[in-house]
Every structure is written in C-alpha cells, then in structure tokens.
C-alpha cells in the first residue's frame, strides 16, 4: 500500500516538474510547481517527516509560489525570447547534464557508507521526541551559530538589494509632516480683490505667491515656468 502511494506521488511529482520547465505559459508553470510541492510534501509524509511536509506547504505553496505567481503575472515575460538560445545551448547543456548524471550513477553504483561510521557520535533524535522538537533542538540549540550566520547572509542580501537599486531622486515627492504643519495660508494662496465679472487675465493670469517655490518640495515647482492663464486653461 505504502509503495503504491509512493509511486503515485513520485510519478505526479516528476511529471509536474517536467511541465514546470516545458509549459509555454509561465502561469501554468507556477501552477505545476505548486502541484509538485504538494506531491513532494506527500513524499515527506510517507518518510515520516511530517514537520517538513507541513513546512513545504505553508512556506513554499503558501508564500513562495503565490509570490511567484504574482511576479509572473505582473512581469511581461516573453517566453519565445527567453527560448531563443535554446537551440544553440541545448546540446551542450545536455552533454554536461549527461556527464554529471553518469557520474552520479557511477557513484551510487558503489554506494557504501563508510564502514566505521558508528565509531563517531551523531546528534540524533531522542527516544519519544517528535521530529519537530528534534529539528528545533538542532537548529536553535546545537547549531545556533550557523543559524545566526544564515541570518547574516540574508541581511547582506537585503543590504545588497538596497545598495544596488535604491536611488534617491531629488524630485521625489515625500510627505514632510513638519513642513505641512508649518505651512500658512499666505505661503500658498494669494487673494486678490477683483471687480465683479472680471477675470484675473488682466493681472497676468493665475499666479502663485513668489514664496511658494520655497515652500514647495524641492524641484516640484518651478517659479520661472510659464504661468497658465485661464485662457489656455479653458482650451
């Protein structure tokens, strides 16, 4: 029975993995990826690693794959362009892959774990401990240094993303609450008394007070720009 379930999961996993790289529509690829994750989680369950199975579903299906789906839908990816080099590189890639595969076969053909392996102590699962607790023990107690070092790796990646892409444009319009509060009516509005039925056209059109260029966000308002008269505004 277990063997049957294994083969069902494994077959669907391999098929969906093939579909991930061969599907023409990237959205379909991501959906097949999700199917693949579910089947891999099934395999983990069969192996008795229930924590990893749940982790795979929660983290990969719940967060990563959905994020992929968003990215794929947002980005305008042209699959045909991405496949342009395929004809040229396929034989070479296949050759390298075949060599590595042959090496793997050779290596596994002689697979024999070192006979003296029991001579050294191993960190293992204590009797009666669930594998969630055992993993927690390993990661947060025994290998806490490495866990923190992995955190540093992620921090460096984050710094890198910011360093390489963040550009502070002087024209960016940010909210500056202090300045908003300090603003008075006189900074931004000029009230003019006009006779009844007359427009501001005779007075040189619609105008902002000269001090507005200082009050405005830097670069967002050019006091020397041509003033919009209400004539041009009407057209």
């Amino acid at each position: 029975m277990t063997a049957l379930v294994f083969y069902v999961f494994a077959t669907i996993l391999v098929l969906s993995a093939t579909m991930v790289i061969s599907a023409r529509n990237p959205v379909h690829s991501v959906l097949f990826l999700i199917l693949g994750f579910f089947n891999a989680a099934g395999l983990f369950l069969l192996a008795g690693a229930e924590f990893l199975a749940m982790l795979l579903i929660i983290v990969y299906v719940g967060a990563v794959a959905v994020l992929f789906l968003f990215v794929v839908m947002m980005l305008d990816i042209r699959v045909s362009e991405a496949r342009e080099g395929l004809q040229r590189y396929a034989p070479f890639g296949a050759a390298v892959g075949a060599v590595l595969f042959a090496e793997l076969i050779l290596a596994f053909g002689h697979w024999r774990i070192a006979p003296a392996i029991d001579a050294v102590p191993h960190l293992g699962q204590a009797a009666g401990e669930t594998n969630t607790a055992a993993l927690g023990d390993l990661i947060y107690t025994h290998y806490v240094l490495l866990f923190q070092a992995c955190g540093l790796v992620l921090l460096v990646a984050m710094i890198g993303a910011i360093v390489l892409t963040l550009r502070e444009r002087p024209t960016g319009r940010r909210q500056d609450i202090e300045r908003q509060h300090a603003r008075t009516v006189a900074d931004t509005l000029e009230l003019r008394r006009l006779p009844l039925g007359r427009s501001v056209r005779e007075l040189g059109g619609f105008a902002r007070p000269t001090s507005y260029s200082e009050a405005a966000a830097k670069g967002s308002y050019d006091p020397h720009a041509p003033v919009l008269s209400d004539e041009s505004r009407g057209e």
């Binding site: 070192a114 003296a116 050294v120 806490v144 240094l145 070092a149």
Partner: protein, 475 residues
C-alpha cells in the same frame, strides 16, 4: 564556553550591526561614509585584539573550532579587511561620493572569512563562504553607474553560484559516503575504514574544484581578469586579500585534517592545479596592457606558488604557504593602493602606459611601486623572496622536483612583466602627472612599502607564528 570561543566573531557582528544603524539613521545632509569607515577600522582593530587573546577549543557541537591556525588566518583576514577599508576612504565612485554600505559590506564579508578560518564542519565551511562571497558580489557591482563594475558583479555572481553548486555537490557526496560532516569525525571514519570509497574521492574532487574557483586557480580562473578589472579598486584589493586567505584556510584545514590520511590521492590534484596556475598566470600576463588585469593574472600565478606548499603536504609546506600568504597580503594591498592613486583629473586610469615616466613625475609613488614589483617577482631581500623561498624549500624537502623546476621557470617569466612596469616607470617618456594622492593612499603605499622592503625584520616572529599555526593544524 561556546560563546567565549566565538567571542571575536560575535563582537564584530554586533559592531557591524551598530555601524549599519549609525549609517542609516544619519541625517541626509551629512554623509556618514567617513564616520562608518573609521568605525569599521576600529571594529577590525578591537576584533584583532580579541582574536589574539581568544582561547583554544571547539564549540557548538563541533561546528566551530578555535586554534592557533584559526587565529593566524583570522588576524590575516582582519588585517586585509582593515587595509581595504582604509583604501575605501579615498574612494569616489562614478556618481561621486562614497556610500557607507561599502565598509559595512567589507565588515560582513570579513565575518564570513573568520567563520571559514574556524570551520570544523562542512556546514560552517559553506555558510562562511557564502556570507563572504555574497558580500563581495555586491561590492564588485558597487559602482552601479559604471558598466564594467556591474558586469564584474554579475559575472562573479553567476560563476560564483556555479562554484557554490559544485562545492555543495562535493559536500553532499562526502556526507553521503562518509556519513558525517564534522572534520574530526570524517578523519576517524576514514582512518578506521582504511581508505576512502570512490564516491568520497569524487566528493573531494568537487570540494577542491569549488574552493579552487574561489582561489582563482587554473582551471577555475576564467572570472578573475574581468572581475578584477571591473570592480572598484579598493574592492579588488580586498578581493585579492582576505577572501583568498580564508579560502586557503579552508583548503588547508580540510586537506590536512579530515582528508589528511588520503594525502597521496589528492596531492597529485593539488600539484596539477599549482603547475597550471603558475604557468598560465605567468604566460597570460605578458600581453596585458591594463594593470588591474595584469594583477589578476599575477594573482593566479601567486595562488599557484602558495598551493605548492600544500602540495608538499608537510608541516613545513603549510608553514611556507602561510608565510607566502602573509607577504602576498601586504604587497598586494600596496600595489592596489598605487593603482588607486592613478587618477587624472578625478578619473581613474588603469593602463600600464599611464605609468610612464612616473619616476620623474611622482618619485615617491614610483619607488613604492618598484618595491612591490620586485617583491612580487621574489627579489631578495623583499618580502616576496622569503615567501617563495619557504614554499620552494618545502617542495624540495618533499621531493617535488618537477614542481620546483616549473616554479623557478615561471618566476623567471614573471620577472619579465614585473620588470616591464619598472622600466615603464623609470625609462619611458613622461606622461602627464597624476592627481595628488589622498592621505589614506599615501599612508597605505608607504607603510606597505616599508613592510615589504623590511620584511626581514619581522620574518622571525611571522615564521614562528606560522610554525605554531601549522603544527596546530597537523600536530
């Protein structure tokens, strides 16, 4: 006990986080670059002191080890990091003005190199290597408005990821066949099992390939010239210093420790890498016209000489490699401080022809460059001579006469292109003078020049420290 062993790393990490925060919370009007660089140098100095007084021992379930060898390598990589940070003080990118992430990333990369030097488990090896490399990929692309810098970052990132993949493959094979990732345990298992299985040998080959990539040893060198040329000069100086030393720490530790019993099997492989690096490094450097590319090929060659000590697989050989790396660190920083000073009207010029007549326009800089070139080719009594002498004598002691002969021939070929720079500087018609050197670069090139020229004075202490480190590793 665990915390005390890794205390220097923890302190450096905390300093890094604090410096990062200082840089982020600064007002927009004041550029925190200079302040952050100074703080980083101070953090390196404090950590260096802590490393020298840190106790021996192994901690965190055999993930982390501190011994004489680790201390020696950590002090070297901290010196490399601090010197590169001093060099960044004068750094101006294409868009002008330094950014404070530069020293912070150098600091985090150095934490990675310290972890590598202290690794006692394949997991530490990989995490340390990735921490150090990831920061360097970013540093290479740091001058993001320059096409060559972005190219060098991308190239290094893609090829580096491939190398990490090879390394992981090697680690997984070693784990699969050896049954453990702890160095001590692998050693015990191998000795008691009486040799390694085929799969384990395959794992070792992949491990060496992955590490040789980081060392830029032939045949895994193809990224080196482009990355060296494109990266900002202080980054290149860092790249050629601390990370290489840490990678050497890894390769020496795993070859002498867990795989020490298999020396006859891997010795031939290391010998081949060493020979190829020396030959390729010296021949390919001859037609170069760009001094940063020239230094890239020169570093390939130097890695070959340093590997010679490992190929000997004796304590004397490891001592030779350590002394060689020490001398290389200093002369390398000196050369790059000279290259960073090659600026005309604020623009970096890196052609060898730009150096012509430097002996007349800027005699001080020319003298320092000449000292470094003589040291690179191994002329007595400069630092480079003692490094070469020690690895050559170790190879002689181990009976590797072929390797020794090839090393001597390639040194002679190397002398041609090093001396060509001296000839260009002193005998060619003068090119326009360079801009005035910034104080940090002047300090670096003069102090490194003094260290390189008078290395004989500190040879005794360095050799005995290297001897202690080597015996901690093998003894």
């Amino acid at each position: 006990m665990n915390w005390i062993i890794a205390f220097p790393e923890l302190v450096l990490t905390l300093c890094g986080l604090v410096i990062l925060t200082v840089g982020v919370v600064q007002k927009k009007s004041t550029n925190p670059f200079a302040a952050c660089s100074m703080l980083t140098i101070a953090a390196f100095a404090i950590t260096g002191f802590l490393v020298t007084v840190s106790p021996d021992g192994s901690g965190y379930e055999h993930v982390f080890v501190n011994d004489g060898f680790a201390r020696f390598m950590k002090v070297l990589s901290l010196i490399g990091g601090a010197l590169a940070t001093i060099m960044t003080l004068s750094y101006r990118g294409t868009s002008g003005g330094g950014r404070f992430e530069l020293p912070v990333l150098i600091l985090f990369s150095t934490i990675g190199t310290m972890l590598m030097a202290s690794s006692d488990n394949m997991m530490t090896l990989f995490v340390g290597l990735e921490l150090s490399s990831l920061a360097i990929y970013i540093l290479c692309a740091f001058d993001r408005d320059s096409v060559v810098s972005s190219e060098s970052g991308l190239k290094y990132f893609i090829l580096g990821s491939l190398a990490s993949g090879l390394l992981l493959y090697g680690i997984s094979l070693t784990y699969g066949y050896g049954g453990t990732m702890e160095y001590g345990a692998i050693r015990t298992v191998l000795i008691q099992s009486g040799g390694a299985s085929l799969g384990l040998m395959l794992g070792i080959v992949f491990l060496i390939a992955g590490l040789a990539f980081k060392l830029s040893a032939v045949p895994f060198h193809m990224w080196t010239p482009d990355v060296y040329q494109g990266a900002p000069t202080p980054v290149t100086a860092y790249l050629a210093g601390a990370p290489k030393i840490a990678t050497f720490a890894l390769i020496l530790r795993i070859m002498a420790g867990p795989f020490g019993a298999l020396a006859p099997q891997w010795q031939l492989l290391i010998e081949m890498i060493s020979v190829l690096s020396m030959v390729f490094g010296s021949l390919a450097a001859i037609p170069q016209t760009n001094i940063k590319r020239l230094m890239a090929y020169s570093s390939i060659g130097h890695m070959g000489y340093a590997l010679m000590g490992l190929a000997a697989a004796t304590p004397g050989g490891i001592r030779g490699t350590l002394v060689y790396l020490t001398t290389y660190l200093f002369m390398n920083v000196g050369v790059f401080a000279g290259i960073a000073a090659m600026r005309r009207k604020g623009h970096e010029t890196t052609d060898i022809a730009d150096l012509s007549g430097l002996g007349r326009t800027s005699p001080g800089l020319a003298l320092m460059m000449a000292i470094f070139m003589f040291s690179m080719l191994g002329m007595p009594p400069t630092a480079g001579f003692f490094g070469k002498l020690m690895v050559f004598s170790a190879a002689y002691g181990a009976g590797l006469y072929g390797l020794l002969a090839i090393g001597a021939i390639t040194s002679a070929i190397g002398a041609y292109y090093y001396l060509r720079i001296v000839k260009v500087m002193y005998f060619d018609a003068s090119a326009p003078a360079f801009d005035t050197r910034s104080p940090s670069l002047a300090f670096l090139s003069v102090s490194m020049g003094i260290v390189t020229a008078l290395f004989v004075l500190v040879l005794g202490p360095v050799t005995s420290a290297a001897q202690a480190a080597a015996s901690a590793l093998i003894g």
